[in-house]
């Protein structure tokens, strides 16, 4: 059963307990200065954005069919069956295709390190595998960040909108974006006012490249045979011409 996170911005009080818990869980520094940074970075995997009296979280969406994992040449990034998109630095070679490909701009890089790695929220992959909820959900005092089965959370989100249509935008961000994500968001004000892109395709991004890549095994023998065939035909003509020339030459010599 795939797990997920439902973040309901209308219930959020902006206490940033999730940020603190995330930093502790991942061994990252956290103080007032970090708390004031409203951007995710190599040392801050989630952030609570404030706009007037509204809040919004940013974190890895842990896509159902993630572009980052699909583009990783060495499989350092992986979508686990439980939902988290995890990272294994020992496989990584640092090509940063994941960063270029991510539609949400999530993966960050340790630019200042001599042995750099990719850093991002991995939806507490280890905790989730142990049957626990994510650190951010566990620490949330209001239940704004809720952990559970993705399907159940999606039903709940729909119900919340249905029961209280005046309180919500009729849009569950992450339900269909880039083919669906494990993290889903509810809000009363447009998502793009927090920098979320609302024009994203509903198609899973890996399909764009896979529809080309999947044809390569068929292409190779066809194209190889074609090249070999052209060679054979063009050089056959040459052989014939040479043989004829030789014949003529021999005849000429004999006469």
């Amino acid at each position: 059963m795939s797990k997920g996170i439902l973040y309901d911005a209308t219930m959020c009080i902006g206490c940033k307990q999730c940020e603190q818990a995330c930093a502790t869980e991942n061994g990252l520094p956290y103080d007032d200065k970090v708390a004031a940074q409203e951007v995710t970075s190599a040392h801050k995997y989630t952030t609570v954005l404030t706009k007037d009296d509204k809040f919004m979280r940013r974190m890895c969406m842990n896509c159902d069919d993630p572009a980052c994992a699909s583009v990783c040449p060495v499989g350092a990034l992986k979508k686990t069956s439980l939902g988290p998109v995890t990272y294994d630095k020992s496989r990584c070679m640092g090509c940063r295709y994941c960063m270029a490909a991510c539609p949400f701009g999530v993966p960050k890089y340790e630019w200042d390190k001599a042995v750099p790695g990719v850093r991002k929220c991995i939806m507490c992959g280890k905790r989730v595998a142990e049957g626990k909820q994510t650190a951010c959900a566990e620490s949330c005092p209001t239940g704004a960040t809720k952990f559970g089965d993705r399907d159940a959370l999606l039903e709940e989100a729909k119900k919340r909108i249905h029961d209280n249509p005046g309180n919500y935008l009729p849009h569950i961000f992450g339900e269909t974006e880039v083919g669906g994500t494990s993290v889903m968001l509810l809000s009363s004000i447009p998502f793009n006012s927090f920098g979320y892109r609302t024009d994203l395709t509903e198609r899973a991004l890996p399909m764009y490249t896979y529809q080309v890549l999947s044809r390569i095994p068929d292409f190779v023998p066809l194209f190889g045979t074609m090249l070999g065939g052209i060679y054979w035909i063009t050089h056959r003509r040459q052989d014939v011409a040479e043989a004829e020339a030789n014949e003529k030459g021999q005849k000429g010599g004999a006469q």
Binding site: R91, C95, A100, P116, I216, Y231
Partner: protein
């Protein structure tokens, strides 16, 4: 005689300065890290080293597979004398791309990982294998030149007997590799500006690689005749110019049709940041060289062909930089300009390319048929006219 000599020392001095700068920047890159030596950021994980050194490096090496395909597979014999310099360029180009990758990768010592860790869904996985295999194939295609030089007859015979296989593999791998550099960007439909994102990106990258391969061959033949006092193969370059016209026309029409069907054409006439770079690219890569080459006088003339080739090269370099940098700026909300260290490293690789080409041309039988009769230094202008006169007389 003094003029070329001064120029020669001048370029040596320039090369030395570039190398010193390059070594210093190499130190900065490997001891201070990517953050200190580049303007790369979380918004711009790819910059000049990917955009130019890798994307353009591979593209500029395309003459190798274009000409070997024409000569060895299609059996067009009159291009035979210019195949070797293109193989040298391709081999050098790929070696430099590999070297540049070592600078750009965050963990370069893991570069071999795709050998044992596979993800066939990743275009980068395909790219990695294409780079490794094609560099090997290029080494094999290049090996007869070295074997000839050292007169290793038996090894030469063995390599030659497999040459058809190498050539076919080389064309196949190049086709895959050139197009896959475009496929890399297919996964960014919401990130790359619609001027450049298209489902046809792999086709555009492949077609433009052929155009660049032809232009690069014209460029390096012209340069060789200038600096190594080689006979300019004007009739051959004219033929290449004609092929270039056809490839550029096909490419231009396809780009137009693609913009038309995706409904992006109106953006072309809307002033804007991306629009200016797009127009510059299209002017340099398609309109200007096509316009020039369609004039018979220009197409038949050595300098005209050279100019058209240089414009084509500049145009497609602009295209690759637009795809890697200009096209994503709006989506990531920022601008990228390379840091001086990035520029120095890139200039170092270009300089190394020229220098090694020069050395190889001097010591290896790259231009075998003429080698014996070339005096060390000759006035370039006389070579041009000598080559041109009989052809004009024949017209």
């Amino acid at each position: 005689m003094t003029v070329p000599r001064i120029r020669f020392t001048f370029w040596k001095a320039v090369f030395a300065v570039i190398m010193v700068g390059g070594i210093y920047c190499t130190f900065l890159r490997f001891f201070r890290g990517l953050g200190a030596s580049t303007n790369l950021s979380d918004q711009f994980p790819w910059g000049l080293w990917i955009g130019f050194d890798v994307m353009c490096g591979v593209m500029l090496a395309a003459g190798g597979f274009t000409l070997t395909a024409a000569v060895e597979i299609f059996n067009i014999k009159r291009f035979h004398s210019i195949v070797r310099p293109t193989i040298l360029t391709a081999f050098l180009g790929y070696l430099l791309v590999c070297a540049a990758l070592m600078y750009d990768l965050g963990l370069p010592w893991n570069i071999w990982h795709p050998l044992i860790m596979r993800n066939p869904h990743s275009v980068m996985f395909e790219v990695a294998w294409c780079v490794m295999l094609y560099t090997t194939v290029l080494a094999l295609e290049f090996s007869p030149i070295v074997l000839e030089h050292f007169k290793l007859k038996r090894a030469l015979r063995v390599v030659r007997s497999f040459m058809v296989v190498f050539v076919i593999l080389g064309v196949l791998l190049s086709t895959l590799h050139q197009s896959s550099l475009g496929t890399l960007y297919l996964i960014m439909p919401n990130k790359l500006h619609p001027f450049w994102w298209s489902p046809l990106l792999p086709v555009f990258f492949f077609l433009s690689a052929i155009a660049v391969g032809l232009a690069m061959t014209i460029f390096e033949s012209s340069m060789s005749s200038k600096y190594f006092g080689r006979e300019l193969e004007l009739p051959i370059l004219r033929d290449l110019g004609r092929v270039l016209v056809v490839v550029l026309a096909l490419y231009g029409i396809l780009r137009f049709e693609d913009l038309l069907h995706r409904g992006v054409l109106k953006l072309v006439f809307t002033p804007g940041y991306e629009q200016r770079f797009f127009l510059l690219e299209i002017f340099l890569s398609v309109i200007a060289p096509l316009g020039l080459l369609l004039i018979p006088k220009v197409r038949e003339n050595a300098q005209g062909l050279y100019l058209a080739a240089v414009l084509t090269l500049l145009g497609f370099v602009t295209n690759r930089l637009n795809v890697t940098i200009t096209g994503v700026e709006i989506a990531v909300g920022g601008r990228y300009a390379p840091k001086w260290t990035e520029v120095v490293i890139t200039v170092m690789f270009v300089a190394l390319g020229f220098a090694i080409f020069g050395l190889a041309a001097k010591y290896l039988p790259i231009f075998p048929e003429e080698k014996a009769q070339i005096p060390a230094l000759r006035e370039p202008s006389t070579r041009f006219s000598e080559a041109a006169v009989p052809v004009h007389a024949g017209d």
